[in-house]
Symmetry: none
Subunit: 126 residues, 4 copies
Protein backbone atom coordinates (compact mmCIF):
# COMPACT_ATOMS: atom_id res chain seq x y z
CA UNK A 1 0.00 0.00 0.00
CA UNK A 2 2.11 2.81 -1.31
CA UNK A 3 1.58 6.44 -2.18
CA UNK A 4 -1.46 7.01 -0.01
CA UNK A 5 -1.58 10.56 1.31
CA UNK A 6 -3.96 11.73 4.01
CA UNK A 7 -4.48 15.41 4.63
CA UNK A 8 -6.24 16.20 7.88
CA UNK A 9 -6.81 19.73 6.71
CA UNK A 10 -8.80 18.64 3.68
CA UNK A 11 -12.55 19.15 3.51
CA UNK A 12 -13.18 15.61 2.27
CA UNK A 13 -13.42 12.98 5.01
CA UNK A 14 -10.34 10.89 5.63
CA UNK A 15 -12.07 7.62 4.76
CA UNK A 16 -13.12 9.18 1.44
CA UNK A 17 -9.60 10.38 0.66
CA UNK A 18 -8.17 6.91 1.19
CA UNK A 19 -11.02 5.36 -0.77
CA UNK A 20 -10.44 7.66 -3.72
CA UNK A 21 -6.76 6.81 -3.91
CA UNK A 22 -7.21 3.06 -3.52
CA UNK A 23 -10.09 3.01 -5.99
CA UNK A 24 -8.01 4.74 -8.65
CA UNK A 25 -5.08 2.41 -7.98
CA UNK A 26 -7.35 -0.59 -8.46
CA UNK A 27 -8.88 0.83 -11.60
CA UNK A 28 -5.50 1.69 -13.03
CA UNK A 29 -4.39 -1.88 -12.48
CA UNK A 30 -1.69 -0.95 -9.93
CA UNK A 31 -3.36 -3.44 -7.61
CA UNK A 32 -3.96 -6.83 -9.20
CA UNK A 33 -6.90 -9.23 -8.84
CA UNK A 34 -6.93 -11.34 -5.65
CA UNK A 35 -4.05 -9.36 -4.21
CA UNK A 36 -4.27 -9.15 -0.41
CA UNK A 37 -4.82 -5.71 1.06
CA UNK A 38 -3.01 -4.87 4.31
CA UNK A 39 -5.03 -5.71 7.42
CA UNK A 40 -7.24 -3.01 8.86
CA UNK A 41 -4.95 -2.65 11.86
CA UNK A 42 -1.80 -2.42 9.75
CA UNK A 43 -3.27 0.13 7.39
CA UNK A 44 -4.54 2.18 10.33
CA UNK A 45 -1.10 2.23 11.90
CA UNK A 46 0.65 3.04 8.63
CA UNK A 47 -1.63 5.92 7.74
CA UNK A 48 -1.92 7.03 11.37
CA UNK A 49 -5.70 7.04 11.43
CA UNK A 50 -8.24 5.15 13.52
CA UNK A 51 -9.09 1.52 12.82
CA UNK A 52 -12.70 2.57 12.43
CA UNK A 53 -11.79 5.03 9.72
CA UNK A 54 -9.98 2.35 7.72
CA UNK A 55 -12.86 -0.04 8.28
CA UNK A 56 -15.22 2.52 6.76
CA UNK A 57 -12.94 2.80 3.74
CA UNK A 58 -12.81 -0.99 3.33
CA UNK A 59 -16.63 -1.14 3.59
CA UNK A 60 -16.93 1.50 0.89
CA UNK A 61 -14.59 -0.44 -1.38
CA UNK A 62 -16.58 -3.59 -0.74
CA UNK A 63 -19.93 -1.90 -1.40
CA UNK A 64 -18.54 -0.55 -4.66
CA UNK A 65 -17.55 -4.06 -5.65
CA UNK A 66 -13.83 -3.36 -5.73
CA UNK A 67 -12.71 -5.72 -2.96
CA UNK A 68 -14.05 -8.72 -1.05
CA UNK A 69 -13.45 -9.67 2.55
CA UNK A 70 -13.01 -13.02 4.28
CA UNK A 71 -13.40 -13.12 8.05
CA UNK A 72 -10.20 -14.04 9.78
CA UNK A 73 -8.15 -13.82 6.60
CA UNK A 74 -8.34 -10.31 5.21
CA UNK A 75 -9.55 -8.31 2.23
CA UNK A 76 -8.64 -8.97 -1.39
CA UNK A 77 -8.87 -7.07 -4.66
CA UNK A 78 -11.87 -8.40 -6.55
CA UNK A 79 -11.38 -10.19 -9.82
CA UNK A 80 -12.45 -8.15 -12.84
CA UNK A 81 -11.60 -7.51 -16.44
CA UNK A 82 -9.90 -4.30 -17.49
CA UNK A 83 -13.03 -3.50 -19.49
CA UNK A 84 -15.18 -3.60 -16.35
CA UNK A 85 -12.76 -1.21 -14.70
CA UNK A 86 -12.66 1.13 -17.68
CA UNK A 87 -16.46 1.27 -17.66
CA UNK A 88 -16.50 2.03 -13.94
CA UNK A 89 -13.84 4.67 -14.42
CA UNK A 90 -15.78 6.44 -17.14
CA UNK A 91 -18.98 6.32 -15.10
CA UNK A 92 -17.21 7.99 -12.20
CA UNK A 93 -15.68 10.65 -14.41
CA UNK A 94 -19.08 11.33 -15.96
CA UNK A 95 -20.62 11.77 -12.52
CA UNK A 96 -17.95 14.26 -11.53
CA UNK A 97 -18.43 16.39 -14.60
CA UNK A 98 -22.20 16.06 -14.57
CA UNK A 99 -22.15 17.83 -11.25
CA UNK A 100 -19.55 20.36 -12.34
CA UNK A 101 -21.36 21.28 -15.54
CA UNK A 102 -24.72 21.46 -13.79
CA UNK A 103 -23.33 23.82 -11.18
CA UNK A 104 -22.14 26.33 -13.81
CA UNK A 105 -25.04 25.87 -16.20
CA UNK A 106 -26.80 29.00 -14.99
CA UNK A 107 -23.87 31.18 -16.05
CA UNK A 108 -25.09 30.80 -19.62
CA UNK A 109 -21.71 30.08 -21.18
CA UNK A 110 -21.61 28.64 -24.69
CA UNK A 111 -20.31 25.09 -25.09
CA UNK A 112 -17.29 26.41 -26.98
CA UNK A 113 -16.39 28.92 -24.28
CA UNK A 114 -16.81 26.25 -21.60
CA UNK A 115 -14.66 23.68 -23.39
CA UNK A 116 -12.02 26.33 -23.92
CA UNK A 117 -11.91 27.15 -20.21
CA UNK A 118 -11.71 23.47 -19.31
CA UNK A 119 -8.88 22.96 -21.77
CA UNK A 120 -6.93 25.81 -20.17
CA UNK A 121 -7.53 24.47 -16.67
CA UNK A 122 -6.47 20.97 -17.78
CA UNK A 123 -3.16 22.30 -19.05
CA UNK A 124 -2.60 24.25 -15.83
CA UNK A 125 -3.12 21.12 -13.74
CA UNK A 126 -0.87 18.91 -15.81
Amino acid sequence: MKHIVVRNTSQTPIYQQIYDQLASQIMNGDLKSDQLLPSIRTAAKELRVSIITIKKTWELLENQGLIYTIQGKGSYIKRHTQIDLDDKKIELVKDVFLEAISSVKSYNLSKEKLMEIISVVYDEVN
Copy 2:
Protein backbone atom coordinates in the same frame (compact mmCIF):
# COMPACT_ATOMS: atom_id res chain seq x y z
CA MET B 1 -36.24 37.34 -5.82
CA LYS B 2 -37.57 35.06 -8.49
CA HIS B 3 -36.77 31.61 -9.81
CA ILE B 4 -34.99 30.38 -6.71
CA VAL B 5 -35.44 26.65 -6.21
CA VAL B 6 -34.46 24.85 -3.02
CA ARG B 7 -34.25 21.08 -2.93
CA ASN B 8 -34.14 19.64 0.56
CA THR B 9 -33.02 16.28 -0.74
CA SER B 10 -29.94 17.69 -2.46
CA GLN B 11 -26.49 16.94 -1.08
CA THR B 12 -25.39 20.57 -1.32
CA PRO B 13 -26.34 22.70 1.69
CA ILE B 14 -29.38 24.91 1.29
CA TYR B 15 -27.45 28.12 1.90
CA GLN B 16 -25.10 27.09 -0.90
CA GLN B 17 -27.94 26.33 -3.29
CA ILE B 18 -29.46 29.80 -2.77
CA TYR B 19 -26.05 31.43 -3.02
CA ASP B 20 -25.30 29.71 -6.33
CA GLN B 21 -28.55 30.85 -7.85
CA LEU B 22 -28.34 34.44 -6.62
CA ALA B 23 -24.69 34.72 -7.64
CA SER B 24 -25.45 33.62 -11.17
CA GLN B 25 -28.41 36.00 -11.37
CA ILE B 26 -26.17 38.88 -10.32
CA MET B 27 -23.45 37.92 -12.76
CA ASN B 28 -25.90 37.48 -15.59
CA GLY B 29 -27.20 40.98 -14.94
CA ASP B 30 -30.67 39.81 -13.91
CA LEU B 31 -30.13 41.71 -10.69
CA LYS B 32 -28.90 45.27 -11.26
CA SER B 33 -26.40 47.36 -9.31
CA ASP B 34 -27.70 48.95 -6.09
CA GLN B 35 -30.92 46.97 -6.27
CA LEU B 36 -32.29 46.17 -2.79
CA LEU B 37 -32.43 42.53 -1.80
CA PRO B 38 -35.42 41.35 0.26
CA SER B 39 -34.92 41.32 4.02
CA ILE B 40 -33.59 38.16 5.59
CA ARG B 41 -36.95 37.46 7.23
CA THR B 42 -38.87 37.98 3.98
CA ALA B 43 -36.51 35.79 1.99
CA ALA B 44 -36.67 33.08 4.65
CA LYS B 45 -40.45 33.10 4.59
CA GLU B 46 -40.61 33.05 0.78
CA LEU B 47 -38.20 30.17 0.39
CA ARG B 48 -39.49 28.39 3.48
CA VAL B 49 -36.08 28.01 5.03
CA SER B 50 -34.62 29.07 8.35
CA ILE B 51 -33.56 32.67 8.93
CA ILE B 52 -30.16 31.37 9.94
CA THR B 53 -29.80 29.76 6.53
CA ILE B 54 -30.54 33.00 4.69
CA LYS B 55 -28.20 34.88 6.98
CA LYS B 56 -25.43 32.51 5.99
CA THR B 57 -26.23 33.05 2.31
CA TRP B 58 -26.15 36.84 2.62
CA GLU B 59 -22.80 36.61 4.45
CA LEU B 60 -21.39 34.49 1.65
CA LEU B 61 -22.57 36.97 -0.97
CA GLU B 62 -21.03 39.82 0.98
CA ASN B 63 -17.72 37.98 1.45
CA GLN B 64 -17.61 37.30 -2.26
CA GLY B 65 -18.09 40.99 -2.93
CA LEU B 66 -21.41 40.61 -4.68
CA ILE B 67 -23.58 42.59 -2.24
CA TYR B 68 -23.09 45.16 0.51
CA THR B 69 -25.13 45.70 3.65
CA ILE B 70 -26.19 48.92 5.37
CA GLN B 71 -27.17 48.42 8.99
CA GLY B 72 -30.86 49.01 9.51
CA LYS B 73 -31.60 49.43 5.81
CA GLY B 74 -30.81 46.15 4.11
CA SER B 75 -28.52 44.55 1.55
CA TYR B 76 -27.87 45.85 -1.95
CA ILE B 77 -26.34 44.48 -5.11
CA LYS B 78 -22.82 45.87 -5.39
CA ARG B 79 -21.93 48.21 -8.20
CA HIS B 80 -19.71 46.70 -10.87
CA THR B 81 -19.04 46.72 -14.58
CA GLN B 82 -20.05 43.82 -16.79
CA ILE B 83 -16.38 43.13 -17.39
CA ASP B 84 -15.79 42.66 -13.66
CA LEU B 85 -18.64 40.19 -13.62
CA ASP B 86 -17.41 38.26 -16.62
CA ASP B 87 -14.00 37.95 -15.02
CA LYS B 88 -15.56 36.74 -11.79
CA LYS B 89 -17.70 34.28 -13.69
CA ILE B 90 -14.74 32.76 -15.47
CA GLU B 91 -12.77 32.57 -12.24
CA LEU B 92 -15.62 30.64 -10.62
CA VAL B 93 -15.99 28.28 -13.55
CA LYS B 94 -12.24 27.67 -13.51
CA ASP B 95 -12.36 26.83 -9.81
CA VAL B 96 -15.16 24.34 -10.36
CA PHE B 97 -13.31 22.52 -13.11
CA LEU B 98 -9.98 22.76 -11.36
CA GLU B 99 -11.45 20.66 -8.59
CA ALA B 100 -13.24 18.30 -10.98
CA ILE B 101 -10.17 17.66 -13.10
CA SER B 102 -7.94 17.24 -10.05
CA SER B 103 -10.30 14.65 -8.61
CA VAL B 104 -10.11 12.46 -11.71
CA LYS B 105 -6.47 13.14 -12.51
CA SER B 106 -5.33 9.87 -10.96
CA TYR B 107 -7.41 7.88 -13.47
CA ASN B 108 -4.74 8.64 -16.07
CA LEU B 109 -7.10 9.54 -18.88
CA SER B 110 -5.72 11.34 -21.90
CA LYS B 111 -6.80 14.93 -22.49
CA GLU B 112 -8.61 13.88 -25.64
CA LYS B 113 -10.55 11.13 -23.86
CA LEU B 114 -11.46 13.47 -21.02
CA MET B 115 -12.65 16.26 -23.32
CA GLU B 116 -14.72 13.74 -25.24
CA ILE B 117 -16.44 12.55 -22.06
CA ILE B 118 -17.10 16.11 -20.96
CA SER B 119 -18.56 16.93 -24.34
CA VAL B 120 -20.94 13.99 -24.08
CA VAL B 121 -21.99 14.95 -20.56
CA TYR B 122 -22.55 18.55 -21.66
CA ASP B 123 -24.90 17.44 -24.40
CA GLU B 124 -26.77 15.21 -21.97
CA VAL B 125 -27.31 18.07 -19.55
CA ASN B 126 -28.44 20.56 -22.19
Copy 3:
Protein backbone atom coordinates in the same frame (compact mmCIF):
# COMPACT_ATOMS: atom_id res chain seq x y z
CA MET C 1 -41.12 4.04 16.69
CA LYS C 2 -43.07 1.34 18.43
CA HIS C 3 -42.70 -2.37 18.91
CA ILE C 4 -38.97 -2.55 18.36
CA VAL C 5 -37.39 -5.29 20.46
CA VAL C 6 -33.64 -5.69 20.92
CA ARG C 7 -32.24 -8.88 22.37
CA ASN C 8 -28.64 -8.63 23.44
CA THR C 9 -28.45 -12.40 23.70
CA SER C 10 -29.32 -12.90 20.04
CA GLN C 11 -26.70 -14.04 17.54
CA THR C 12 -27.72 -11.42 14.99
CA PRO C 13 -26.09 -8.00 15.48
CA ILE C 14 -28.20 -5.35 17.17
CA TYR C 15 -28.13 -3.03 14.17
CA GLN C 16 -29.41 -5.91 12.06
CA GLN C 17 -32.21 -6.70 14.46
CA ILE C 18 -33.44 -3.11 14.41
CA TYR C 19 -33.04 -2.93 10.65
CA ASP C 20 -35.10 -6.08 10.14
CA GLN C 21 -37.94 -4.78 12.24
CA LEU C 22 -37.98 -1.30 10.73
CA ALA C 23 -37.67 -2.68 7.21
CA SER C 24 -40.68 -4.92 7.68
CA GLN C 25 -42.67 -2.07 9.21
CA ILE C 26 -41.90 0.09 6.20
CA MET C 27 -42.74 -2.68 3.76
CA ASN C 28 -45.97 -3.46 5.56
CA GLY C 29 -46.96 0.19 5.27
CA ASP C 30 -46.94 0.77 9.04
CA LEU C 31 -44.58 3.65 8.37
CA LYS C 32 -45.83 6.01 5.65
CA SER C 33 -43.90 7.85 2.93
CA ASP C 34 -42.05 11.00 4.05
CA GLN C 35 -42.75 10.24 7.70
CA LEU C 36 -39.95 11.50 9.95
CA LEU C 37 -37.98 8.85 11.80
CA PRO C 38 -36.86 9.65 15.34
CA SER C 39 -33.45 11.29 15.53
CA ILE C 40 -30.46 9.01 15.93
CA ARG C 41 -29.95 10.23 19.48
CA THR C 42 -33.58 9.72 20.46
CA ALA C 43 -33.74 6.25 18.99
CA ALA C 44 -30.49 5.32 20.69
CA LYS C 45 -31.84 6.46 24.05
CA GLU C 46 -35.18 4.73 23.57
CA LEU C 47 -33.68 1.40 22.56
CA ARG C 48 -30.80 1.78 25.00
CA VAL C 49 -28.10 1.16 22.42
CA SER C 50 -25.19 3.27 21.23
CA ILE C 51 -25.68 6.15 18.83
CA ILE C 52 -23.23 4.45 16.49
CA THR C 53 -25.33 1.31 16.41
CA ILE C 54 -28.43 3.26 15.39
CA LYS C 55 -26.41 5.16 12.83
CA LYS C 56 -25.36 1.88 11.26
CA THR C 57 -29.00 0.84 11.09
CA TRP C 58 -30.01 4.12 9.47
CA GLU C 59 -27.16 3.73 6.94
CA LEU C 60 -28.36 0.23 6.09
CA LEU C 61 -31.91 1.49 5.58
CA GLU C 62 -30.58 4.28 3.37
CA ASN C 63 -28.40 1.93 1.32
CA GLN C 64 -31.38 -0.33 0.79
CA GLY C 65 -33.36 2.63 -0.48
CA LEU C 66 -35.91 2.59 2.32
CA ILE C 67 -35.20 5.99 3.87
CA TYR C 68 -33.43 9.23 2.94
CA THR C 69 -31.52 11.58 5.21
CA ILE C 70 -31.17 15.35 5.25
CA GLN C 71 -28.30 16.81 7.25
CA GLY C 72 -29.51 18.87 10.16
CA LYS C 73 -33.12 17.80 9.71
CA GLY C 74 -33.38 14.04 10.09
CA SER C 75 -34.27 10.86 8.23
CA TYR C 76 -37.50 10.21 6.39
CA ILE C 77 -39.30 7.19 4.97
CA LYS C 78 -38.69 7.17 1.23
CA ARG C 79 -41.59 7.64 -1.14
CA HIS C 80 -42.57 4.43 -2.91
CA THR C 81 -45.54 2.59 -4.29
CA GLN C 82 -46.93 -0.45 -2.52
CA ILE C 83 -45.97 -2.46 -5.61
CA ASP C 84 -42.31 -1.51 -5.19
CA LEU C 85 -42.47 -2.66 -1.60
CA ASP C 86 -44.19 -5.93 -2.46
CA ASP C 87 -41.49 -6.64 -5.02
CA LYS C 88 -38.77 -5.88 -2.48
CA LYS C 89 -40.52 -8.07 0.08
CA ILE C 90 -40.73 -11.05 -2.26
CA GLU C 91 -37.10 -10.63 -3.28
CA LEU C 92 -36.04 -10.75 0.36
CA VAL C 93 -38.20 -13.80 1.08
CA LYS C 94 -36.76 -15.55 -1.96
CA ASP C 95 -33.24 -14.85 -0.77
CA VAL C 96 -33.99 -16.30 2.65
CA PHE C 97 -35.41 -19.53 1.25
CA LEU C 98 -32.81 -19.78 -1.48
CA GLU C 99 -30.24 -20.10 1.25
CA ALA C 100 -32.39 -22.43 3.36
CA ILE C 101 -33.15 -24.78 0.49
CA SER C 102 -29.56 -24.78 -0.70
CA SER C 103 -28.34 -25.73 2.74
CA VAL C 104 -30.54 -28.84 2.90
CA LYS C 105 -30.23 -29.76 -0.75
CA SER C 106 -27.63 -32.43 -0.05
CA TYR C 107 -30.05 -34.36 2.18
CA ASN C 108 -31.70 -35.58 -1.00
CA LEU C 109 -35.27 -35.00 0.12
CA SER C 110 -38.04 -35.04 -2.48
CA LYS C 111 -39.83 -31.75 -3.17
CA GLU C 112 -43.04 -33.19 -1.72
CA LYS C 113 -41.34 -34.29 1.51
CA LEU C 114 -39.67 -30.90 1.85
CA MET C 115 -42.86 -28.94 1.25
CA GLU C 116 -44.62 -31.13 3.79
CA ILE C 117 -41.98 -30.41 6.44
CA ILE C 118 -42.14 -26.69 5.73
CA SER C 119 -45.91 -26.76 6.01
CA VAL C 120 -45.68 -28.40 9.43
CA VAL C 121 -43.07 -25.91 10.63
CA TYR C 122 -45.19 -23.01 9.36
CA ASP C 123 -48.16 -24.18 11.39
CA GLU C 124 -45.98 -24.61 14.47
CA VAL C 125 -44.70 -21.05 14.19
CA ASN C 126 -48.09 -19.49 13.64
Copy 4:
Protein backbone atom coordinates in the same frame (compact mmCIF):
# COMPACT_ATOMS: atom_id res chain seq x y z
CA MET D 1 -13.23 -37.90 2.07
CA LYS D 2 -14.54 -37.01 -1.33
CA HIS D 3 -16.64 -34.28 -2.84
CA ILE D 4 -15.98 -31.70 -0.17
CA VAL D 5 -15.98 -28.19 -1.56
CA VAL D 6 -14.80 -25.17 0.42
CA ARG D 7 -15.57 -21.69 -0.80
CA ASN D 8 -13.48 -19.03 0.91
CA THR D 9 -15.76 -16.31 -0.40
CA SER D 10 -18.86 -17.78 1.22
CA GLN D 11 -20.45 -16.07 4.19
CA THR D 12 -20.75 -19.29 6.18
CA PRO D 13 -17.63 -20.21 8.17
CA ILE D 14 -15.41 -22.83 6.62
CA TYR D 15 -15.76 -25.25 9.56
CA GLN D 16 -19.54 -25.02 9.09
CA GLN D 17 -19.31 -25.69 5.35
CA ILE D 18 -17.27 -28.83 5.90
CA TYR D 19 -19.53 -29.93 8.73
CA ASP D 20 -22.65 -29.54 6.59
CA GLN D 21 -21.21 -31.65 3.81
CA LEU D 22 -19.86 -34.40 6.05
CA ALA D 23 -23.08 -34.49 8.07
CA SER D 24 -25.18 -34.97 4.98
CA GLN D 25 -22.81 -37.65 3.67
CA ILE D 26 -23.15 -39.51 6.94
CA MET D 27 -26.92 -39.19 6.99
CA ASN D 28 -27.23 -40.23 3.39
CA GLY D 29 -25.24 -43.36 4.21
CA ASP D 30 -22.31 -42.42 1.95
CA LEU D 31 -20.11 -42.84 5.00
CA LYS D 32 -20.73 -46.12 6.83
CA SER D 33 -20.76 -46.90 10.56
CA ASP D 34 -17.33 -47.31 12.19
CA GLN D 35 -15.55 -46.03 9.11
CA LEU D 36 -12.34 -44.17 9.96
CA LEU D 37 -12.21 -40.48 9.13
CA PRO D 38 -8.90 -39.06 7.85
CA SER D 39 -6.67 -37.49 10.50
CA ILE D 40 -7.09 -33.82 11.22
CA ARG D 41 -3.73 -33.05 9.61
CA THR D 42 -4.53 -35.05 6.49
CA ALA D 43 -7.94 -33.49 6.10
CA ALA D 44 -6.51 -30.02 6.63
CA LYS D 45 -3.90 -30.61 3.94
CA GLU D 46 -6.40 -32.08 1.49
CA LEU D 47 -8.90 -29.26 1.85
CA ARG D 48 -6.19 -26.63 2.18
CA VAL D 49 -7.58 -25.16 5.36
CA SER D 50 -6.12 -24.62 8.82
CA ILE D 51 -5.80 -27.55 11.26
CA ILE D 52 -7.72 -25.46 13.78
CA THR D 53 -10.62 -25.24 11.34
CA ILE D 54 -10.79 -29.04 10.89
CA LYS D 55 -10.50 -29.51 14.64
CA LYS D 56 -13.58 -27.33 15.08
CA THR D 57 -15.45 -29.36 12.46
CA TRP D 58 -14.59 -32.69 14.12
CA GLU D 59 -15.71 -31.26 17.49
CA LEU D 60 -19.00 -30.21 15.96
CA LEU D 61 -19.54 -33.68 14.47
CA GLU D 62 -18.75 -35.26 17.81
CA ASN D 63 -21.06 -32.92 19.71
CA GLN D 64 -23.84 -33.71 17.28
CA GLY D 65 -23.29 -37.44 17.92
CA LEU D 66 -22.26 -38.21 14.36
CA ILE D 67 -18.70 -39.40 15.06
CA TYR D 68 -16.66 -40.63 18.04
CA THR D 69 -12.97 -40.18 18.73
CA ILE D 70 -10.46 -42.58 20.23
CA GLN D 71 -7.37 -40.87 21.58
CA GLY D 72 -4.32 -41.78 19.55
CA LYS D 73 -6.27 -43.69 16.92
CA GLY D 74 -8.61 -41.27 15.21
CA SER D 75 -12.25 -40.45 14.66
CA TYR D 76 -14.89 -42.90 13.45
CA ILE D 77 -18.40 -42.64 12.09
CA LYS D 78 -20.79 -43.49 14.89
CA ARG D 79 -22.97 -46.59 14.69
CA HIS D 80 -26.64 -45.87 14.08
CA THR D 81 -29.70 -47.19 12.29
CA GLN D 82 -31.00 -45.54 9.16
CA ILE D 83 -34.12 -44.56 11.11
CA ASP D 84 -32.01 -42.60 13.61
CA LEU D 85 -30.43 -40.78 10.71
CA ASP D 86 -33.71 -40.00 9.01
CA ASP D 87 -35.05 -38.55 12.24
CA LYS D 88 -31.92 -36.45 12.67
CA LYS D 89 -32.18 -35.32 9.07
CA ILE D 90 -35.74 -34.14 9.50
CA GLU D 91 -34.92 -32.39 12.74
CA LEU D 92 -32.14 -30.48 11.02
CA VAL D 93 -34.34 -29.51 8.09
CA LYS D 94 -37.04 -28.35 10.48
CA ASP D 95 -34.54 -26.17 12.34
CA VAL D 96 -33.38 -24.57 9.12
CA PHE D 97 -36.91 -23.68 8.03
CA LEU D 98 -37.99 -22.69 11.51
CA GLU D 99 -35.41 -19.96 11.38
CA ALA D 100 -36.22 -19.02 7.79
CA ILE D 101 -39.95 -18.79 8.39
CA SER D 102 -39.48 -16.85 11.62
CA SER D 103 -37.29 -14.33 9.89
CA VAL D 104 -39.93 -13.49 7.29
CA LYS D 105 -42.93 -13.84 9.60
CA SER D 106 -43.25 -10.09 10.08
CA TYR D 107 -43.85 -9.58 6.37
CA ASN D 108 -47.37 -10.87 6.89
CA LEU D 109 -47.49 -13.15 3.88
CA SER D 110 -50.25 -15.74 3.69
CA LYS D 111 -49.26 -19.39 3.95
CA GLU D 112 -50.35 -19.96 0.36
CA LYS D 113 -48.24 -17.06 -0.95
CA LEU D 114 -45.23 -18.24 1.04
CA MET D 115 -45.51 -21.86 -0.11
CA GLU D 116 -45.81 -20.62 -3.69
CA ILE D 117 -42.63 -18.57 -3.39
CA ILE D 118 -40.78 -21.49 -1.82
CA SER D 119 -41.96 -23.79 -4.60
CA VAL D 120 -40.61 -21.38 -7.20
CA VAL D 121 -37.27 -21.05 -5.42
CA TYR D 122 -37.01 -24.84 -5.11
CA ASP D 123 -37.44 -25.26 -8.83
CA GLU D 124 -34.85 -22.56 -9.51
CA VAL D 125 -32.30 -24.33 -7.31
CA ASN D 126 -32.87 -27.78 -8.75
